[in-house]
């Protein structure tokens, strides 16, 4: 059963048992995002009494027991970040990453608009757990809808017992790499929103002299649920190695594109078919523009980091872009590569020069105007850019392109011998900014 908001479709996943302790259960029940509805549905968040020093380790233990991992793309155990920051010297800051630079993703926007109080609960709980005196919510400067929702929610809680730590809302530039955690921290510290080089991630990020914890909106929302309903409730869904529910944005050749809350471990095919593909599914781009393609043959795979990786997929930002039969995977890959090249922060040579070169090769492949060595040259360039930037942006492009060459082998061979498939000129199923890229511009 689907319910739609103005621009991002929120849908229900009927297979999730017990809606109360889910991320979107409150929205589904009441279609309201205000504080009163939130409290009526979930009750008050279990914030600590001032001076309760036993509370932070208790929360950390609960988070650890739940097995919660980051929902921003890296799938890193959340308790590790909490503990790293709790042991950092000096004053601390918690940053809520609501940037969602991935064009094909809408889950963070959905959470901020439909369950902002759950996110803020999580932020306040995390801040109390690490002893932070400041919370900053970052929303892309072009995302006014989400920003308004957050500002309203912050105002509702301001001065009450629900906001022991003050919350600020900031609007960094809405570029792809600006949501990377070191880029975000750099911008908050007065620099450009460009990722920093972090040869060893053992040290926490800092804004000025304040140690900073950056968490994705969804991760914090889950944290708020774990704190309230306990780790067992979180583990009651999903699978042992990947517990809990997760938000997935399904777009592409589907009738009901939108954000779905699914239990980890549900089959990829189930999730995709829940959004009603318009035609037989050929492949799915998992994770995001820096993720990887998975062929239709692998649709029975459980949606979880381990099993997905085994078939060449990735959970990443919870994105699934569906490609149907009568479409060209090479064309879509070329569009994504050109978009990603344009989103380079411009700091590292291999990314600045390498990504446009890769996009050029893929563009040639798309058009079918190739010289003999294009596939070999593309392979060599993908190896050359992989891992040679300060951040994982070029790595993502290499992964995505390599997976395309693997999944669309037959198409790639045909394009490479100058015979592009009949569907190379079809309109794109990708989001508008990327879908508008034409073969001639690459």
């Amino acid at each position: 059963m689907a319910t739609a908001t103005t621009d991002s479709t929120i849908t229900t996943d009927r297979a999730v048992p017990g809606d109360r302790s889910t991320l979107l259960g409150g929205w589904r029940a009441r279609h309201r995002a205000d504080l009163a509805s939130h409290l009526a549905h979930h009750g008050a968040p279990p914030l600590p009494r001032p001076g309760d020093h036993a509370w932070p380790p208790r929360l950390a233990a609960a988070v650890e027991a739940s097995g919660l991992t980051g929902r921003g793309g890296a799938s890193f155990p959340s308790v590790t970040k909490l503990r790293l920051l709790a042991s950092a010297p000096g004053r601390r800051t918690v940053v809520v990453n609501g940037m969602e630079g991935e064009p094909a993703s809408a889950k963070d926007k959905t959470l901020l608009r439909c369950a902002p109080h759950l996110v803020l609960d999580g932020a306040e709980l995390a801040a109390c757990a690490v002893g932070a005196s400041r919370i900053v919510v970052c929303v892309a400067d072009g995302d006014h809808h989400s920003a308004d929702a957050v500002v309203r929610a912050v105002a509702e809680r301001a001065g009450t017992a629900l906001a022991p730590v003050t919350v600020e809302v900031k609007r960094p530039p809405g570029r792809y790499v600006a949501g990377e955690e070191s880029a975000l921290v750099s911008w908050l510290d007065g620099g450009p929103a460009a990722p920093g080089w972090r040869p060893d991630k053992g040290h926490s990020l800092t804004i000025g002299r304040r140690a900073t914890l950056v968490h994705n909106t969804e991760t914090l929302a889950h944290l708020a649920l774990v704190a309230r309903y306990g780790p067992e409730s979180f583990r009651s869904r999903g699978v042992p190695d990947a517990p809990g529910t997760t938000l997935v944005t399904v777009t592409g050749a589907v009738e009901h594109a939108g954000v779905y809350e699914v239990a980890m471990g549900r089959s990829l095919g189930d999730i995709v078919h829940g959004a009603r593909p318009t035609d037989e599914v050929a492949a799915v781009l998992t994770g995001g523009f820096g993720g990887s393609w998975v062929p239709a043959a692998a649709l029975a795979t459980p949606y979880a980091p381990g099993p997905l990786a085994a078939v060449g997929g990735v959970v990443g930002a919870g994105v699934l872009v569906v490609l149907a039969r009568r479409a060209c995977g090479i064309a879509e890959t070329a569009r994504v590569a050109r978009y990603m090249a344009g989103e380079s922060a411009g700091q590292c040579g291999p990314c600045v020069f390498g990504l446009p070169a890769v996009a050029d090769d893929l563009g040639q492949l798309w058009r079918g105007t190739v010289d003999g060595g294009v596939l070999a040259r593309l392979e060599a360039r993908l190896t050359a850019v992989d891992g040679r930037g300060a951040c994982r942006h070029p790595d993502g492009v290499a992964r995505m392109a390599r997976s395309a060459l693997r999944v669309f082998t037959a198409d790639a061979a045909a394009h490479a011998s100058g015979r592009p498939c009949a569907f190379a000129r079809q309109p794109s199923v990708l989001p508008a900014t990327v879908g508008a890229i034409k073969a001639g511009t690459t």
Partner: protein, 71 residues
Amino acid sequence: MIKVNPVACTAYGYCAELLPELVTLDEWGYPIVERGAVPPHLVELARRAAKDCPRRAFLLRQAATEVGSST
């Protein structure tokens, strides 16, 4: 071991000139460095490369400490 700071590097290429055994340049002039420990007979050259890099992008590390042109 050698680490290159990709943000600082602007493809001067001195590291590749001094240490062709461990550093090759990609088609855009940026260094691709061999992983692992620097062979003892090349350590002196590696130190020189770290010192000569105009952007301090070529870094020599032993365990967790950074040995740049300070040695």
